[in-house]
Structure formats: structure tokens, C-alpha cells
Symmetry: C2
Subunit: 557 residues, 2 copies
């Protein structure tokens, strides 16, 4: 089979003006960025306020493994399949980050014959949204330390500056740095650090803001430091809300591209799914729902992270109701959950699939029982899958009364997703939707955390470190304890221990710390160490890529 980029290069893209016109967008409602990308004006959504929303199809997955599940491919391929069935469908996804692109992961725009195009541009600078977030984030960092340097009128405690810096790159050397080294003109020496741009609270804000006013309101509400008197300092106290908003005024507009088979794709925003909410921008999703009858979207990681956050943090605030959940699994990944090492992952082993299916079961239960959604299982087929292994999963689903389909969208594009699309369409017509968030806005903070731990992760209870207790007390004192919870937990396990595969039982969640993201509007509850700045592997993807004299890329993705 051809590589992802070879498939992308052979594809005949449609002009973005054609894609936009088919969506009913007027010429003044979008700006082309080249011939195959566009940014849609915010007025396009405002104008369509009275149009009823399309159906929202929410794609999530089992707990990630190195074996691969294929969530993004499935979301794209399902959209392509819906298109083949004559449905007006669109997909809404997060934007890839340059760090992983040149580090471990390669691209993040689907794969095989289930991709979004132009995949090289989407994986590189795209329309500059991540760069805009980087610029705004670092301008704010410079302004905070400039305040310290020029007399510190606000009395900011240099030891309690909460705002670090970001770069859209994987660079372990920058995780922890000392800035302001050298003479007096170089500013105030202090410890700081860099995170990857996707981890910036400004990225989360960009994805949650509903218009420019809301964007400014949220930017102004970011908590950046405490004073010597322990009073909080917000961005609005520093007088740069306008400047940050100016830097983000184009980035906030949803990006329009297309799938390999020409369906509209909104790729916009890319927040982390642990320290942030892990879903594409609300503006892109809402716009897609006004323009298409079926909108396929996905969240980061599995049902315990991206999906849970969409259901608890996003949907209730914006009046959205997912119509159906698609749970993506692969037999390779289930074998890994069943104890098979990566070296043996292609050896047929139905018993290992059987052992690993508990992970699927828990995610299914989360979606169906905890959140009340109709569910379809998408079994993403890899070339080495054995029919007996596939049968184990399909049998399990039949036993559970949950529809399931083998998906071959990577190998065959939309044609490989017809069965899945039919199951999805039937399910959202026929299965009762009892969707409800896990908790209400008046649920106390500790109760929210306990509900997440016991209902969604399968823990027996919750422990708090003394540091976490202290942080919780501070949050209550500041009056922010009503905010919803954004759990920062490993994605590698349903539990807080990345080594526990399957569906761990008999454990308690340990809350290590809590942090306020007052601009995004949630409390980040830290259960374990979350790496917010990746490192490069010994042989990074950057060493495999090349540029041909005609401008074509080879060797990446």
C-alpha cells in the first residue's frame, strides 16, 4: 500500500471554493488560504442561528496503545462513507501539532484512504492558528516579566508566576529553564519552562470561545500569578487583553478543508485532552452542525478523557447533544490490552483479544450506561488481523446488544466504511438517546472528582495529597470551586497508572494537585505527572523527510 503522503499527493482535490459553495457559504463568508484551504467568517455562524442543527456523531476509542486504534481515520472514513450514501456530512477535527509531526508520531490528519487534505499543509503550518497561539502566549509571558522588570507595580510575587512559555515543537531541553540570566538589563532571573503550544490555556480558550467578545472575556480571566499579598493577578490587570485578541482574531475563524473524497472538513483548534478539554473548536462544530446534516467529530484519547470532557465540559455549556457515539477499537490494540507485547502483535491470538476486550467493555459502558448514548463499535481492520480475532470482538458486541461493524476505511476509503455508516444511521434513528452529563453545575467539586473516578475510570475511591488539599482550599477561597473539572490523567490506562492495561479494578485515584484555568473555565485536576513538553526520539521523524525540487514532500507521515 502507498504511504499516506503518496495517497494524498495522488488525490485530485476540489477547489475549496467548490466545497464552500456546496455547503451554501457565500463568497464573502470565507477567505481562501491558497486554493484548498479557507477560513470561514464568524458571521457565517451568526447568520444561521435559526437553522436547526444536524446530527452530531461523536467518535471516541478504547484506551490508546502503541498498536494503534485508528480513531481519526475512522472519523474521516465514516464521513466519506456517509457521503457515498448520499448524506450531507462533514467532519470536525482538531489541528495537528508540529512537535509530534517532526518527533515520534508523524502526521495527524487520518491515514491511508481516510485522510483530510491537503494533509501536508494541515500537518505543517496550516492557516497559522498554532503559531498565533504561540505568539499570544509568549507575548503574555514577556509582558508579565516586563512588569516585574519595570517596578512591579502590581506586587507580583516572582515565585508565584503561573504562566510559562510555549513552542510548537518537541524540545525536552526547554521543559525547565532559568530565564533572565546575565546582567540587570536581561531582566529578573527566575525559573520558568516551556510547554508545547497545544497545552496553552489560550489554545483551550480559542476552542471554547463563541465570538470575539467571549474570547476577550476569557483571555482577561486567565489567572497568571499571585501577588505578595496572595491576591490573584489576571490578564485584565496587565492591560493586554486587546493585544492578545488581536493576535488571535484570524485564528478563531474555523478552517475549512476536505476529505480525500471531497466532503467538507473543519479542522480547527488542538487542545490537549488531559490538561485541557481535547476537542476541536466549538465554533467549528457549531458551524458544521448548521451546514451539514451529519457532523462527525472526535475527542482526544479515549472515552475517559476527550469524550468525557466533551460530554461534561462542552456539550452542556453550548446546548449540544451528541446523537450517537462511535467507539473505535482494533484487535491489535485489544491484544495489547490482553498482555501481548508489540513484538508479537501481528501473531494471531484470539485468546489475547478475549482477555483485552474488558477495556472495550468499560468504554462501552461509559458511553452507554454513564452518559446514556446510543453506541456503535467500529472495529478498525489492520492487514494482519485474523478473522477469528475479529470474531471475538463482534461476538462480544452481539452479546452486549451493541451494533458493531468492521471498518476498512484505511484500505478502501468511504467504500470500506459503508457498513459502519449504515449501522450509525440505523442506531441514531432507532436507539433511544438518554444523553446526560455526569454531573450538574451545582455538584460540589469533590463529588465531581469522585463521580469521574468511580463511574468513568472504575476506581474504588479518591485520595488527595496534602498539596492537592491545599490547592482545593485555595480554589474554594477564591470562589472558583463551582467550575467544572478537567481531569489530567494518563491516557495510557483507564486508571491513573499508565502500566495498568485492560479495565483496572481495585484501585483508588490519587489527586496530586489542582490548577485553575479560569480563562478556559475549568479546574485542572492532576492525577499523575502529565508531560506537557514532549522530547524527540533518538531518530526523530524530522530526519526522514525531504523536499523535492518541485516542492513535493517525501518521507514524512
Amino acid at each position: 500500500m502507498l504511504s499516506d503522503i503518496e495517497i494524498a499527493q495522488q488525490a485530485k482535490m476540489r477547489r475549496i471554493s467548490t466545497v464552500a459553495a456546496e455547503l451554501g457559504l457565500g463568497e464573502e463568508e470565507y477567505e481562501p488560504y491558497g486554493h484548498y484551504k479557507a477560513k470561514v467568517a464568524l458571521t457565517a455562524l451568526e447568520k444561521r442561528g435559526s437553522i436547526p442543527d444536524g446530527k452530531l456523531i461523536y467518535v471516541t476509542a478504547i484506551t490508546p496503545t502503541p498498536a494503534g486504534e485508528g480513531k481519526t481515520c475512522t472519523a474521516v472514513g465514516l464521513t466519506q462513507a456517509l457521503g457515498r450514501l448520499g448524506k450531507k456530512a462533514a467532519v470536525a477535527l482538531r489541528e495537528p501539532s508540529l512537535g509530534p509531526t517532526f518527533g515520534v508520531k508523524g502526521g495527524a490528519a487520518g491515514g491511508g484512504y481516510a485522510q483530510v487534505l491537503p494533509m501536508d499543509e494541515i500537518n505543517l503550518h496550516f492557516t497559522g492558528d498554532l503559531h498565533a497561539v504561540t505568539a499570544a502566549h509568549n507575548l503574555l509571558a514577556a509582558v508579565i516579566e516586563n512588569h516585574l522588570h519595570h517596578g512591579n507595580e502590581l506586587g507580583i510575587d516572582p515565585k508565584r508566576v503561573l504562566w510559562k512559555r510555549v513552542l510548537d515543537i518537541s524540545d525536552r531541553q526547554l521543559r525547565q529553564v532559568i530565564v533572565g540570566v546575565g546582567d540587570k538589563s536581561n531582566g529578573v532571573m527566575r525559573e520558568s519552562g516551556f510547554e508545547i503550544t497545544a497545552a496553552s490555556e489560550i489554545m483551550a480558550i480559542l476552542c471554547l470561545a463563541t465570538d470575539l467578545n467571549d474570547l476577550k472575556q476569557r483571555l482577561g480571566s486567565i489567572l497568571v500569578a499571585y501577588t505578595y499579598q496572595k491576591t490573584p493577578v489576571f490578564v485584565r490587570d496587565l492591560g493586554v487583553v486587546g493585544a492578545l485578541a488581536v493576535l488571535l482574531k484570524e485564528a478563531i475563524k474555523p478552517n475549512l478543508v476536505q476529505t480525500l473524497e471531497g466532503q467538507p472538513a473543519f479542522i480547527h483548534g488542538g487542545p490537549f485532552a488531559n490538561i485541557a478539554h481535547g476537542n476541536n473548536s466549538i465554533l467549528a462544530t457549531k458551524l458544521a452542525l448548521k451546514l451539514a446534516d451529519y457532523v462527525v467529530t472526535e475527542g482526544g484519547f479515549a472515552s475517559d478523557l476527550g469524550a468525557e470532557k466533551f460530554f461534561d465540559l462542552v456539550a452542556p455549556r453550548y446546548g449540544l447533544k451528541p446523537a450517537v457515539a462511535v467507539l473505535v477499537a482494533s484487535v491489535r490494540a485489544l491484544k495489547n490490552h490482553g498482555g501481548v507485547a508489540m513484538e508479537q502483535i501481528t501473531v494471531p491470538d484470539p485468546a489475547a483479544v478475549e482477555r483485552g476486550v474488558g477495556n472495550l467493555a468499560k468504554h462501552l459502558s461509559n458511553l452507554r450506561d454513564v452518559f446514556g448514548l446510543p453506541v456503535v463499535v467500529a472495529l478498525n481492520k489492520f492487514p494482519t488481523d485474523d478473522p477469528q480475532e475479529l470474531a471475538v470482538v463482534l461476538d462480544y458486541c452481539r452479546g452486549q446488544g451493541v451494533p458493531a461493524a468492521v471498518s476498512e476505511v484505511v484500505a478502501h476509503g468511504g467504500a470500506g466504511g459503508i457498513a459502519l455508516a449504515q449501522q450509525v444511521l440505523a442506531t441514531l434513528e432507532n436507539v433511544e438517546n438518554r444523553f446526560a452529563p455526569l454531573y450538574g453545575s451545582d455538584t460540589p467539586l469533590e463529588e465531581k472528582i469522585k463521580l469521574l473516578a468511580t463511574k468513568v475510570y472504575g476506581a474504588d475511591g479518591v485520595n488527595y495529597t496534602p498539596e492537592a488539599r491545599k490547592a482545593m482550599a485555595e480554589i474554594k477561597e477564591l470562589g472558583f470551586d463551582h467550575l467544572p473539572v478537567c481531569m489530567a490523567k494518563t491516557q495510557m490506562s483507564l486508571s491513573d497508572n499508565p502500566r495498568l492495561k485492560g479495565a483496572p479494578q481495585g484501585w483508588e485515584l490519587t489527586v496530586r494537585d489542582l490548577k485553575l484555568s479560569t480563562g478556559a473555565g475549568f479546574i485542572v485536576v492532576l492525577a499523575g505527572n502529565i508531560l506537557t513538553m514532549p522530547g524527540l526520539p533518538k531518530t526523530p521523524a524530522a530526519q526522514k523527510v525531504d523536499l523535492l525540487p518541485d516542492g513535493r514532500i517525501v518521507g514524512l507521515f
Copy 2:
């Protein structure tokens, strides 16, 4: 008078497709970035190889002062005036940097009625070129340190890593940093630093590369470190030439926008004019020369920096010959050179202009006598200028036999530059052009430096610090001493002492150090401390800006 941004917002822009069509660009030769910006394909230049070049009008200025000279306004206004005279004219300028935009300077896209549009976009993210340079530069930094972290096969001496990091921001705290703090997984602790993106050698390379192959060749030739055995390490040794080129493949394409009066404007690349060569991209200039009959361009700072570098580093390598030089001065600036403090700068004082005119005289002599160019003096009028003050300058020029014109392009746009444009057209027809670079490619390194110091800066001779002597010996040993010289000298004086105004005499240039920019292809000779990362002032421009709910910017520029 309205503010720059108010004038820009009131202007009726033409669609970029109209501007491109008038230039004779086919639809497939450019990509729109929104409706008012475009990137031109490299093939557009390749295809026009046999078309004769238009006339190149090179705009430079007297030594900068806080009083303002108006070089960019004059370049833009002159282009507008040429348009009004029925000439097919274009302007080619550098891209502004975000750091100064939100720091001291405000925008850098001209001013008043002599601007390039859309000025807000040009001053902000524009088409992402600076962000692309930032990304490529920092990926390289991460790869170098990743190599140290993963076994250091090349034997790079961590104390002799030459490559720092960059951000397009003014942040003094980042000038000198310690990276790799913390445990082993955070990499190797070492000292590093950040410069502003415009100071990156990759920015200089982007502006000097003639095609993608040349870009890769130059990227591969960047000297990034020395080994423990003191052998040089180049980017090609690290295997990431392709990745860096991929990140720059769009950034290398010239950007097309327009002046306030609709003439085509190529705004592309923005290297520093001290540690780099300080002129817009050669691709943009060459393309403009194929598409227009008259191309107005400018270099950074005065005739001793940007212009000298264009004449010595750029023009000979690319077979370009400037047709005429325009030397911009203002009476305010000349008064400052004549000893008037900024507080008194608006008080009429013809005697002070008389005292300051020596600075103009030296730059005039550089252009006319050293480089052999026809020259026109553009006296950029400010509202507070006194007729007697203007007369001092015009009289001086008359005495010198050099044409001069008062320019009122800031207040009146192209109409205010008609006299200047007529002088320029007459001069390039009637005055003999004896243009020649200062030195040949076989001139020895020390001789090049001596020629610059004595002929262009007016020094009596050159001193070398022991460090500079050592660096020069190393460069000779490596066999790079044939490269041309890029002098990194203060822009605030013709001398190497920023406090010496006018035309300093009786001084010797002190060379402090030499550095190789082997990718850009020059030796940076450091005469004084060059600040490559600005700081923010106490009240940065960022605090004055705001975004209205309709997306309009107020308060900046």
C-alpha cells in the same frame, strides 16, 4: 490627521486577483491568502528568465535618530507617485516583525497616506513567513540538543554549540537562559539564549536563496557547533536539511500585496541589517523586476548598513545593478544630528540643521562617490518643519549638484511624491551610473574590513581585539575567509559608537569578534555589542491596542 490604521481601514483595497492580473500573473502563478494577500509561485520567476529587468530604485536614509526619517513611507509614496505618472511601478520591502509591533516601534508598513495594505495583517502574522522561520530555527535547536542527549555520536562539544533559539517577540528575559534544568529526562543542562526571529540565519538564508535547491544547500551549510576535536558541525551532518526545507517551502514564495493607491507591493523576508544583510528577499526583488518597469526597494538603516550590504553582498552575487539611489532625510533628524534633543525637536532651528547636514553629506558621498550611483535626496516633510530649515537642506544639495525634492507622501500619498518621482526618473535617465561594489571577491578579509571602515564609515583605521584576531585565524583555517563581510555595527552612528552623531571623524573601528554565517554565505564582523533580542518598554504598544467586536483593530500603529 488620522492615525495610520484609520487611514488603512478607510482605504478601498483592490482584490489581490486584480493586482496580480495587472502584473500579468496567471491564475496558477499565485495562491490567494484571503482576498488581499497572495503568495507567488517560484515558477513565475523561472518562466520569465528571458524578460529584461525593470529599473531598480534603491531607497536608503541618513543615520537613524529618534526623530524619524521616513524611509519606508518614502519608498511606498514614491511607488505611488510613479503610478500616478503612469509608470508600471512596484515596491519591494521587508516584512515587519511582531516584536517591535507590540513593543516600542508600532507597525512597519509605511505610514499616513504612504502605506502598504492590508497593514494590520502585514504587521501581524501576514502569511506566516516569520513563524515558519521560528519553527525551522527552533526545530534545529531541538535536534542539536537531542543529539547531545541521545549519545552524541558526532562528539559535539556542548560548550561550543553556536545555535541558539528564536522567538518573534521582544522578551529580554530570554536573552540568556539555562536550558535542560531538572532531571536526566529533561536533557543536558547548558547555557543558551533566544534572539528575535529576524536575527536568525535562516531568515537571511530565506532572503538569499534563489530556489528550493539553493535553499537546501544553504540550510545544510549552516555551521551549528564544533566537536571536541574542534571540527565544524554543519546542519547536513544532523540529517534535517529536508525537514527545515519542508518548513520553509511556502515561506520562500514572495508575498504580493498593494500600496494604498493600488500599486503592487512585494513584502518578503525581514533580516536584521546588522548581523545580517537587511534587505527583502532576492526572489521578491527579482520577480518584481520581471513584472514591473520600476521597482522601488529599501534596505535596513542607512547607507553604511542596509545599502552597503545590498551593494556588496547582494547585487554582485545576483547580477543586479541599482539604477539610482534615493537618500531619505528629514530636518528633524538632521537637527538631532546637529545636537538638538528630542524635547526641542519641533522648535525651528536652521542652524542646527546646518550642523547636522554633515551626516547627509557622508551618506551622499557613500552612494555617489564610493558606490558610483546617481542619487536623489528625498526630504521627507513633517508638519512641524520650518521653510527655512527645509531650505538649508535644499541649498546644500544644490551646492553639491545633487537633485533633491521635498516629499509629502505621508500627508498626501502619491500626489505628495510627484516632484520626487520626477527627479528620480530624470536622474536615472540623465546621470551616469558608475555603480561598482566596494570590493571584489578576491579582496582579502582584513582589506574588506578596512575598506568598509575607512571608505564607508569614515574611520581612520581598524583595531582588532585578541578575540577577534583568534576568530579570524579560525575562519582562515576553516577556509571560509573568502566570504564577503557582513558588518554588525550600531545603526545609531556612522561610527561604532552609538553616541557619535553627525559624521564622526578621528576614530578607529574596533572589531570585537567574527562569526561565520556559512549558510547565508558571509562573515559577520562584530564591531560593538549588537542587541539581537529587544526588550519591552515600560508601557509596550501591546497595552494600547484593542479589538472591536467586528474584528477591527484600534490603538495600534
